[in-house]
Symmetry: C2
Subunit: 168 residues, 2 copies
Amino acid sequence: MTSGPPSEAVDLGLWFATFNEIAILAQLSRTLMEARLPHGLLQPQFGVLNHLVRVADGVTPLALARAFQVPKTSMTHSLAVLERHGLVEMRPNARDGRSKCVFLTDAGRKLRDGTIAALTPDIAALAHRFDAARLRGALPVLTELRQIMDTLRDPVSGHTGATGAQDP
Amino acid sequence: MTSGPPSEAVDLGLWFATFNEIAILAQLSRTLMEARLPHGLLQPQFGVLNHLVRVADGVTPLALARAFQVPKTSMTHSLAVLERHGLVEMRPNARDGRSKCVFLTDAGRKLRDGTIAALTPDIAALAHRFDAARLRGALPVLTELRQIMDTLRDPVSGHTGATGAQDP
DNA sequence: ACTACATAGTGCGATATCGTATCAAATGGA
DNA sequence: TCCATTTGATACGATATCGCACTATGTAGT
């Protein structure tokens, strides 16, 4: 055999440690956010709301599922919650009869802005203790890693199928 | 009022973007892992198993809940699953009659090692596309951020109460 | 046009997550 | 010692997550 693995050993520990930290940080940020969200709304729902404001209105549920890398059924549920609360509106997709488009309502926009405002002191407290420059340095690494994992994702099953564009 | 905020504006966008990437990466790594886990085991359970191997055996459920920053009830559930599968053993805590100690079984150790082995090619594929040095640079930032968020956590309610030591 | 296949969304069931309430053991005063 | 408070763990219920299977629409090949 001539072309085995890169012959350079992979630092498994590094990767596991990273994923471990990421999992815990996700948990911490979730808790942080949900402490400021109105009753009945959880982080996934707020994430969608925020995405609609920051990126674009009128996208399809599947595009959202891809953006967040969750199964489409999970996104269906999140959107149903948001719609039940009157925060988004689902309209038929003129270009594709199977599809729908998700639009923010005024209430949705307002609630998102209010939540951001409510979160600001918490973030400020964090920023007070943690140098933003370090974060700014780490963020591109996270982004690139996310993109690569995106790409490597098995484009199989009912999960979501393919790569999802993220906030540009 | 004399001592308002640091008068320096906080880069909210930076923080939100970071938390956003972290949430998606957590999702991606979860999916990656669960694709290699035996049926019936999910990432949280494997995380516990891995922690017991890497850090220490014989810790209490509450210590585990703190380490992962999940509510104690979630940890109770995860441990029940692991115990049902014969992967861990719960013994009474000699030092505290209310408490228990979690121990790995041989099956648990074996399953953890097998899963690591099964994951290695996936990690290797990642490592092939992503420079480990960059990851190594970013990891301390994540760790420190996690520690700080740990510290700032409201030590309230039934969540977990306090800071949890993480893999040293 | 007709048939195959792919794709968008959803209903359903199994399981996970987590807040609240509860119980039992420990701790710390009076 | 007795009582109040704290702390570790769990039961329970509400909701979230997600895999599977299904429908409906779109797309391609003939």
